[in-house]
Symmetry: C2
Subunit: 473 residues, 2 copies
């Protein structure tokens, strides 16, 4: 498969790193500082459709102290820094569009302390969500936030990620208790103590959660854990149209039923899942559900929701109570993005991410379904309907101007529709490079306040410049 | 009862307001701008033990636009502004210690829009929590955050308040969706759209929640609502010592039982409640519990918790399933602070508010119980044990230097203990005037970042100066 832009030919591909800077990084980190073409290429791309933008060097620190030293060196050389987890971002967050040093935190992958009694854990930023859950399984606790990719906890904090469990357990916003952050001037701060709540001062934790590395580099994260429920039961249910699926979830929430997961997927997405995961789900609009609790309460919740679904035209209810059946179902769901990519080989995805108040969700999804009906490319649609958040995966040939233009038109229509409905341009992917204009429209004068925050924390505009807010003129 | 400092005699009592400033406020608001002694006195005190600090004038705006105009006028006259809800703060938040204009938001008490399908409501900042719940009762929804006082929603947002329901429903941090804020320079911003989640830019909402009016004046608040559970059941259970009560709650949380409320009260507090509320609870360390859910799940939760309590020496389990019995129980709990004040007539309370990781809570409460055993005054202890947060109500005669000194020593020991346990100096009351030194100790270098935030948002130090962070030198 042809790369969208051949990095070898890419105008930005030659490292412009100053030799004295690189020598300082080498003196600090030895082989863990590199300017090799291969490593830089690997760090010059994420999961988005944006073309390569290579850093001039990549470093692999092991400790917060090393990150601090890297920041101090880069600042002295007035060189941008781009934090990097696993590269699974969808909005170009990790692309080194102003060059500079990529700070790859993947070797900071140590679980520092599990506090089982307090239901929390402190990890280095490079620990991935699956690694975390594997390593704490013996405690009977789990970490619920689950974006599609096996992202790093630091990256998830930086993009305010969520996933399928947010309706019950919240997003990274609710689940991060505290952060260690290296600031642009080399200060290292801990944003909060480890108590479950605090009214002590400005909420620095929430300021860095979702800041996309533009205010500092997150090096350690303390997150909340939850007891693995006594019983978990998943279900699949088909509908004639996506509206039935969405309305089922809305009514469930209004009834106060503490559903754990509720994902709606269009017929095309189901087709992609079946092809990718070798499953045999009905290729109709579908709801994936999950219930957590005691055996009795799970049974009760499931029964109530099945009744609601039936009222909304749900049919073919199938239960997955065995762990392996549940895992197959959610693994299929987590792979939806990658499965969809294979609907049109050789393409990349323009992934949309609007989120609206749930009262407007059916209207928003149905209008969007009409929009994409006439599109020239396949466009699966699925989402976390309990949160009002859904995605289109617009499959574009990245070398095709017409594809990109069509995707842009569709996305613009969709975001404008969401904003008119008091929604947001991004529920969980973040702003990155491509949504800054939408952030301005969404926030109005509050966008200027974001610029002021950026200047306060990063007066030299060295922390992931060009992301979240526009570079200062 | 003698006032702690006679306002008539108080050195700061004479209004120092400039006449042209007052004339502008009058031109804008008419009678809703006043410099009358009585009104100023009423606004120069909160529920804390701090002495009166009167504003030079008080204004009663009705709209965000009027607040903006007040801010613009005060800024031009370089005059401090202090937002005021109902005056129930416990850390001197509303005291006009630098003089200036008190912006009383109590007449901004309109419920702007209830969105039942979206489970949210937008209110003016002066709406109180009880008013809100009264006005939305017909919708089948409720707002769970419940500090002891019938505080205003704007004040609760400003102090990041919580209460008895936080273990299940979260604090103001989790429950505020969006805010309208008038900034020091007169800009009016909306911090977020109304969707349940968003990854769009810096989390401005959380920056103003808990900022205690030092970054801007909150004029409108959108909060989450919840379906009133099908079934609610409360219980009272006695223990030989407070440790048994606390350990019962810890084990309940670790078992993943979704308990709604869990309050531990010492024997002295129970005595105060009985005297104040004419109840006949056992005067022993006691746990107040509540369970929310379907009828079956409430029964199941209650049974599991009763078993855990019994293991920890719980006895005399009494159920309150009737609404009026439940209300009596929680009304007694909400009045605990006021009931305690009556244990020693003529006194004021130094109210402590530490919060620690729950694994350390028993140790912290038992060590504190030993501390207060030898105190010269009655000191009831109670708290939201599910969050790790508890209070001492140290009953001081405000004119007594020795009482105040003893209270200070006790509080200092307690806060130091909490900080050593990775806890916070304040779980829900906020920093106000008295805890700034603890905020510095708790946050270290991160405190400097708070100073920088304050300077960015309020370069003239006019927004509630002297609160949360120290005045710039």
């Amino acid at each position: 498969m042809k790369q969208p832009i051949d990095p070898i030919q890419h105008a930005e591909a030659a490292s412009r790193l100053s030799v004295p800077l690189f020598e300082e990084l080498r003196a600090l980190l030895g082989d863990r500082a590199t300017a090799s073409r291969g490593v830089r290429e690997h760090h010059g791309k994420d999961e988005s459709y944006y073309p390569y933008a290579l850093p001039d060097a990549v470093v692999f620190p092991h400790t917060t102290e090393e990150v601090r030293e890297v920041v101090n060196i880069c600042r002295r050389f007035n060189t941008p820094m781009v934090p990097y987890g696993v590269g699974s971002s969808l909005e170009g967050h990790v692309l080194a569009i102003r060059g500079g040093v990529c700070v790859d935190l993947s070797q900071m992958n140590r679980i520092i302390k599990v506090n089982t009694e307090d239901l929390d854990v402190t990890v280095q930023a490079g620990v991935t969500r699956k690694q975390l859950n594997d390593e704490i399984r013996h405690t009977g606790l789990f970490f619920p936030v689950d974006p599609g990719a096996d992202a790093s906890i630091g990256g998830m904090a930086s993009t305010r990620a969520s996933g399928t469990n947010a309706v019950r357990y919240g997003t990274m916003r609710e689940n991060v208790l505290s952060l260690s952050v290296v600031l642009a001037d080399g200060r290292v701060i801990r944003t909060s103590r480890r108590s479950r709540k605090s009214a002590a001062g400005y909420d620095l934790t929430r300021l860095f959660v979702g800041a996309e590395g533009t205010l500092g580099i997150i090096t350690e994260v303390t997150v909340r854990l939850y007891a693995i429920p006594e019983a978990m039961s998943a279900a699949v249910c088909s509908f004639k149209d996506i509206g039935g699926a969405v309305n089922t979830v809305i009514q469930t929430l209004q009834a106060g039923i503490p559903i754990a997961r509720s994902e709606a997927l269009c017929a095309l997405t189901m087709k992609a899942l079946n092809a990718h995961s070798k499953t045999a789900y009905r290729e109709q609009p579908t709801l994936f559900l999950e219930f957590h609790g005691t055996a009795a309460s799970v049974k009760e919740q499931a029964q109530l929701v099945q009744e609601i679904a039936t009222e909304h035209g749900g049919e073919g209810f199938e239960w997955a109570t065995l762990t392996e059946d549940r895992n197959r179902l959610w693994s299929a769901r987590h792979n939806a993005y990658f499965a969809c990519l294979q609907l049109r080989p050789g393409t990349r995805a323009v992934s949309t991410d609007v989120c609206v108040p749930i009262s407007r969700l059916t209207e928003c999804m149905l209008a969007t379904a009409r929009d994409i009906d006439g599109a020239s490319m396949p466009i699966p649609m699925f989402g976390h309907v309990g949160d009002g958040n859904f995605h289109l995966v617009i499959l574009v040939r990245p070398e095709s101007e017409t594809d990109l233009k069509e995707a842009k038109t569709l996305n613009d229509r969709l975001v404008n529709r969401a904003l008119e409905m008091e929604g947001t341009c991004t529920g969980e992917h973040g702003i990155g490079m491509g949504k800054i204009k939408w952030l301005m429209k969404e926030h109005g004068e509050a966008y200027d306040l974001m610029l002021e925050l950026k200047s306060t924390f990063d007066p030299g505009n060295l922390m992931n410049p060009g992301k979240l807010v526009a570079d200062a003129a």
